[in-house]
C-alpha cells in the first residue's frame, strides 16, 4: 500500500485512482477548532528559531495570530493563554514544497501535454483527511501541485493546512501562484503503456523540450498581440478588436511576466539544463526544480540560474531516472549555493519531513541548522512567502510545531501544531477524544445495520403482500422501503460529519 502511494510520483494518476478505489466512506470536514486566543504565550521551550539560533527555556508571545515577541523570558500579559512547553521543542511550521493533499479526484489532466488552463485551486477538498494527518506531522503550509503527466501541467496553489476551514480559506493569502512543469519519464509516459491506448506526444525528452518551447513561442506571440493592443489603446486608438482570450496561454504569459512561479518536476541532469536553457531563451525564471534527483551533478548551473531545488531525502531506484539518486543530493546542492528544500510528494512522507531533513546531516554532513532550514525557511523562500512564515521571528505568522523531543530525531512526536496562532492539532486532545469517537462510530454502524435489517424486512413483507395479491395485478416497485432506507443512510452520513467533527 505504502509502496503504491510512494510510487505516486511515477504513476500518480494510477495511484489516485487506486486510492479512490479503496476509499469506502466519504470524508467530512472537522468543525473549525476553537477560535484562536488573541494572546497566547508558549513558555519554557527549546526554541529553534531557524533565523537566529536556539533559545533554551525560551518563550514566544503570540498576538492576533502573529509572533509578537521571542525571547528568554517574557512576562505573561494579562489574559494571555499559556502553553507550558517545558522540556519540549518549538520550531516553525513545516513547509512542504511538493504536495498532492487536499485535491479532489485525479491530480493529472493527462489528456494533453500542455494543460496550463486547469487550476488546482478549483478542486481543493478541505475534507481530505490527509490535511489532518499532515498537520499531525507538523506541516502548516503545502505547495499543492498537479501530477507530472504533462510537460506543462496546471496551475498550483500554496495552502495553509487550516483543517476545518472551507476550501476558500485554505489558500495562503498573497502567495504567488505557480504552475507545474514536468520533464523526463513521466510526461513522455515511459512507464504508463496501456494496452489499446495510443501513445501520446511527446514520448521522448526531445519532444518534451519541443512541447515547452512551442507553448512559450505561442505565449510570446499572444503576449505581444496583447501588448500591442494595450499600447495602441492607451495611445488613444479607438475601435480596436482585442486579441482573443486564450485560457491556456494566459498563465504562460504570467510566467513570462514573472507573476507566476514555475515548479518543474525533473530528474536527470540533461533535462534540468534543458529547461534552464529554454527558460533563459524565453526570459523567464524557473522558481523551483522539483525532485531534481540528479541536481547534484549540475549544482553549479542550478545555482547560477537562481532556481531553487526541492528534493527527496533518500528515494531511489523506482525508475531509471531515479537510479542515480543519492541521499547526498541536498547536501551537495546546498554546498554549491543552491537554495534547497526537502519535500514529500506524498501524504505519508509529509508527516515526518523533519526526520527526512535530518538525513542530510548523516548523508553529506550538513549542520543541524542547514537541515532545519530545508523544511522551513528554504521552502518559504522558494514559494515567496518567507516574509510571513519559515522562521520564528517577531511579526511573522504564528505557524509553529511543538515536539516532545529534538525534531531532528526519529524519536520526536508532534504535540501541537499551530497556524496563525491557533491550535489546529493537539495530540493530547486527539487521544482524549478517541474513545468517544469510537463509541459514536459503533452507534452509527449499529444504526446502519438496523436500517439494512429494516430494509430486508420491508422487502420480505412487500414480497409477501405481492404473493397474496391476485395474479393479474401488476406488482408495484417497492418504492417505499427503498426510499426509507436511503433516507436512513443520509441521516447516518450527516451524523458521520459530526463524528468527524470531533477530530
Amino acid at each position: 500500500m505504502k509502496a503504491a502511494v510512494r510510487y505516486s510520483c511515477l504513476v500518480v494518476f494510477t495511484a489516485v485512482l487506486a486510492l479512490n478505489m479503496v476509499m469506502v466512506s466519504r470524508t467530512f470536514a472537522a468543525d473549525p477548532p476553537d477560535a484562536a486566543p488573541t494572546v497566547l504565550l508558549i513558555q519554557n521551550a527549546t526554541i529553534l528559531t531557524v533565523s537566529h539560533g536556539t533559545i533554551e527555556h525560551g518563550s514566544i508571545l503570540i498576538r492576533d495570530g502573529k509572533i509578537a515577541e521571542v525571547g528568554q523570558s517574557i512576562a505573561k500579559p494579562q489574559g494571555a493563554e499559556v502553553i507550558d512547553a517545558n522540556g519540549q521543542f518549538v520550531m516553525p511550521g513545516i513547509i512542504d514544497c511538493h504536495s498532492h493533499i487536499a485535491v479532489d479526484g485525479s491530480v493529472n489532466e493527462g489528456s494533453v501535454s500542455v494543460s496550463s488552463m486547469v487550476n488546482i485551486a478549483d478542486v481543493l477538498n478541505p475534507d481530505d483527511i490527509d490535511i489532518y494527518r499532515d498537520l499531525a506531522g507538523g506541516v502548516t503550509v503545502a505547495n499543492v501541485l498537479h501530477g507530472s503527466a504533462n510537460s506543462i501541467g496546471g496551475q498550483t496553489v500554496v495552502i495553509k493546512l487550516r483543517w476545518g476551514a472551507p476550501a476558500s480559506r485554505l489558500p495562503f493569502e498573497g502567495a504567488v501562484p505557480g504552475i507545474k512543469f514536468a520533464l523526463g519519464e513521466n510526461p513522455k509516459r515511459s512507464n504508463f503503456s496501456v494496452r489499446g491506448q495510443e501513445k501520446r506526444y511527446p514520448s521522448t525528452r526531445m519532444g518534451v523540450e519541443e512541447t515547452i518551447r512551442a507553448a512559450f513561442t505561442e505565449a510570446r506571440d499572444y503576449k505581444s498581440r496583447w501588448d500591442d493592443y494595450n499600447k495602441r489603446t492607451s495611445a488613444g486608438e479607438k475601435n480596436l478588436i482585442p486579441p482573443r482570450r486564450d485560457l491556456r496561454l494566459d498563465p504562460l504569459v504570467e510566467v513570462l511576466e514573472g507573476k507566476r512561479y514555475v515548479h518543474a518536476h525533473c530528474y536527470r541532469e540533461d533535462e534540468i539544463l534543458m529547461l534552464l536553457r529554454v527558460a533563459k531563451e524565453f526570459g523567464f525564471k524557473v522558481r523551483t526544480l522539483q525532485h531534481v534527483l540528479e541536481g547534484y551533478k549540475v549544482a553549479d548551473e542550478i545555482a547560477a540560474s537562481g532556481a531553487g531545488a526541492s528534493t527527496f531525502s533518500d528515494w531511489w531506484a523506482y525508475k531509471v531516472e531515479a537510479y542515480d539518486a543519492i541521499p547526498y543530493n541536498a547536501a551537495i546542492m546546498t554546498r554549491r549555493g543552491v537554495l534547497v528544500s526537502i519535500n514529500s510528494d506524498d501524504a505519508e512522507e509529509a508527516t515526518h519531513l523533519n526526520q527526512e531533513a535530518a538525513k542530510s546531516i548523516r548523508y553529506g554532513g550538513l549542520s543541524r541548522e542547514e537541515a532545519l532550514k530545508m523544511v522551513t525557511i528554504n521552502p518559504a523562500m522558494q514559494l515567496g512567502i518567507d516574509k510571513r512564515v519559515g522562521s520564528i521571528d517577531v511579526g511573522k505568522d504564528a505557524d509553529l510545531v511543538i515536539y516532545n523531543h529534538d525534531p531532528l530525531s526519529a524519536y520526536a512526536v508532534v504535540q501541537k501544531t499551530l497556524i496563525d496562532g491557533r491550535v489546529y492539532f493537539d495530540r493530547a486532545r486527539d487521544i482524549a477524544e478517541r474513545a468517544d469517537r469510537e463509541k459514536e462510530k459503533k452507534a452509527l454502524i449499529e444504526k446502519e445495520k438496523k436500517a439494512a435489517e429494516k430494509k430486508t424486512e420491508d422487502k420480505k413483507s412487500e414480497d409477501k403482500k405481492q404473493n397474496e395479491k391476485k395474479p393479474d395485478e401488476k406488482p408495484k416497485p417497492p418504492q417505499g422501503s427503498v426510499g426509507s432506507a436511503t433516507g436512513e443512510t443520509n441521516v447516518v452520513r450527516a451524523e458521520c460529519a459530526g463524528a468527524r467533527g470531533a477530530l
Binding site: 485512482l17 469506502v24 494527518r133 515511459s190 547526498y328 505519508e348 515526518h352
Partner: protein
C-alpha cells in the same frame, strides 16, 4: 498475471543502461571479502550491546573464522588479531530485515530488472535465492544502514507491486548482504513459504482497460472462496503426496515438484509467511492454519492489533509493515500504524519490523525508532530488527545477538543504530570486515569533486 510494463524498445534501452553501469557493478563486487583478510579481529574499548544480556561497557569482541569467538568485559586479545579501537563507539548485532526483494529487483519500473514475482497463482517451488543478483546496487546501499542479513521474499510487493502477486508466491531465502557469489550469500535457502492471503475485493483496478471496476459482494466472496478452496486443495494434495513419499519409493508415485515443495510445509518444518493486513483476512488465515495444522508467520499485519489475543495464544509472530504508513481507514487514529507495535508488545505478541522493499530497506531503523516514539520500549524495538526476526525464521542459533559461537554479523556505530543521524563505522558479515562503499557514495565523491564550470 503481471501488468506488462516494459516494451522491447525499453528493454534494449535498459541493456544500454546496464552496459553503462558495468564499471559500477565490477567495482561493487570488489567490496566483498578479499583473499588476504586477517583471520581474526578484536574490537576493543567499545560499549557492546549483545542483546543477550546487559550492555558491556569497555568491552571486547573477538571474531575468528567468521564467528564470534568471545565477547565480554575481560577478554584477552589474541596475538594474530587485527585490533580495532572502538573507543566512543558502540557494537550491535547487524540488523536483519525480514521482508525485502533484495537482489530480485533493481529498478522497479524496468520489468527486465525485476524477478520478484512469478506469474501464476501457485508457485510453491520457486525459490528466491535462485534469482538473487549478488551485484545488485541495493545490497551495498542497504549495508550502510547497518543491515547485514535480509530475507529475499518472492511475491512480497514493493515498488513493482502493481497487479496480483499470486497466492502461493514461492520460498523466501535468508541471505547475507555480502558475497562473491549467491552461494556465499546464502544463510538459508528456504525459510518460509509465501502466501498472499486472498482478499474479498469488491473494488479492483483493471490495468488492461485502466479503469476501476466494482463487483457485487457475493461475486467477490465467491472468488475469495474459490481461491481459499484451491489453497486448501494444494495443502491437502501435498499431504497425500507426503504420505506417498513416506510409504514408497520414487517408482510408486509420479514426482510433482510443486507438491514436493509443499511437503516441508505440511510436515510443519517450513512456516507459511502469510501476507494479510485486514483483520478479516488475518482471522481467516489463522483459522485456516489452525484447521490445516500449519505453522504460520503473519506478514503485513496492519490490523494485527484487532487479533492480538488470537495471535498471542497461538504464538503466531508478525512481520510488521513499516510504521511510517498511513492508516488503512480514514477514521482510524492518525497514528494507528505508529502505535501498533507498542500495543502488540504489551499484549505479548512477538513481532519484527520489515521494510517490504529494497530502496526503503535503509529506513528499517527509522521505522523501529518511530515505534519507540509512540510507546514501544526501546529494547524491544532493537530486538525487533535483530533477534526477533532471527528467532521467527529459526535462525537465532546463527544470527541476531552477539554471543560466542554465532556468526559474526556485527556493526560498530557512533550511536544508536535506529537513529537517523547515526553512522555505521565498521560492518562485519560472516566475520569479514565489509566495505561501506557503494554506488551512491561514489557518486557523492565524484560530483563533490567536480570543478566549478
Amino acid at each position: 498475471m503481471r501488468y506488462p510494463r516494459a516494451t522491447t524498445m525499453f528493454r534494449n534501452w535498459l541493456f544500454f543502461v546496464m552496459a553503462l553501469a558495468l564499471p559500477w557493478i565490477v567495482r561493487a563486487q570488489q567490496s566483498t571479502p578479499k583473499a588476504d583478510a586477517p583471520k581474526a579481529y578484536a574490537l576493543v574499548h567499545a560499549k557492546i550491546f549483545t542483546l543477550a544480556g546487559a550492555p558491556i561497557e569497555n568491552g571486547t569482541l573477538i571474531i575468528r573464522d567468521g564467528k564470534i569467538a568471545a565477547v565480554g568485559g575481560q577478554v584477552e586479545v589474541p596475538q594474530d588479531a587485527q585490533v580495532i579501537n572502538g573507543e566512543g563507539l558502540q557494537i550491535y548485532p547487524g540488523l536483519f530485515d525480514p521482508i525485502t526483494q533484495m537482489g530480485l529487483r533493481e529498478i522497479g519500473a524496468v520489468n527486465s530488472t525485476v524477478d520478484s514475482t512469478e506469474t501464476g497463482n501457485y508457485n510453491p517451488d520457486v525459490v528466491a535465492l535462485t534469482a538473487v543478483s549478488p551485484s545488485s546496487e541495493h545490497i551495498p546501499v542497504t549495508r550502510v544502514a547497518g543491515i547485514t542479513e535480509v530475507l529475499a521474499v518472492p511475491a512480497s510487493g514493493g515498488m513493482d507491486s502493481f497487479g496480483p502477486s499470486g497466492v502461493i508466491g514461492g520460498q523466501a531465502s535468508a541471505i547475507y548482504l555480502s558475497g562473491w557469489t549467491v552461494d556465499d550469500m546464502q544463510l538459508k535457502r528456504s525459510v518460509a513459504m509465501v502466501v498472499n492471503w486472498p482478499e474479498i475485493q469488491t473494488k479492483t483496478f483493471d490495468f488492461a482497460t485502466f479503469s476501476r471496476k466494482e463487483k457485487p459482494y457475493p461475486e467477490a466472496k465467491q472468488e475469495y472462496d474459490k481461491q481459499v478452496t484451491e489453497l486448501t486443495d494444494w495443502i491437502e494434495r501435498a499431504r497425500h503426496y507426503a504420505q506417498a513419499m513416506g510409504h514408497g519409493g520414487p517408482a510408486d508415485f509420479a514426482r510433482d515438484l510443486k507438491l514436493e515443495a509443499l511437503v516441508p510445509v505440511v510436515r510443519g518444518q517450513l512456516p507459511l509467511l502469510i501476507v494479510a493486513d485486514r483483520s478479516r483476512e488475518i482471522r481467516n488465515a489463522i483459522e485456516f492454519c489452525d484447521k490445516q495444522n500449519l505453522k504460520m508467520i503473519l506478514a503485513g499485519g496492519s490490523e494485527a492489533y484487532k487479533l492480538k489475543d488470537m495471535l498471542r495464544s497461538r504464538s503466531i509472530p508478525v512481520i510488521l509493515r513499516p510504521v511510517l504508513t498511513l492508516p488503512l481507514d480514514e477514521d482510524d487514529p492518525y497514528d494507528r500504524l505508529l502505535s501498533q507495535p507498542a500495543e502488540l508488545s504489551a499484549a505479548g505478541v512477538k513481532f519484527a519490523f520489515g521494510s517490504f522493499d529494497n530502496s526503503f530497506a535503509r529506513r528499517l531503523g527509522q521505522n523501529a525508532a518511530n515505534a519507540v516514539a509512540y510507546g514501544l520500549p526501546y529494547d524491544e524495538a532493537l530486538k525487533a530488527v535483530t533477534l526477533y526476526p532471527a528467532q521467527i525464521f529459526g535462525l537465532a542459533d546463527q544470527v541476531g545477538t552477539l554471543e560466542s559461537g554465532k556468526i559474526a554479523n556485527v556493526i560498530v556505530t557512533n550511536g544508536d543504530p535506529l537513529e537517523i543521524t547515526s553512522e555505521v563505522r565498521y560492518l562485519f558479515i560472516r566475520g569479514q570486515l565489509t566495505s561501506l562503499d557503494n554506488r551512491q557514495k561514489r557518486l557523492f565523491e565524484k560530483y563533490s569533486a567536480r570543478p566549478k564550470p
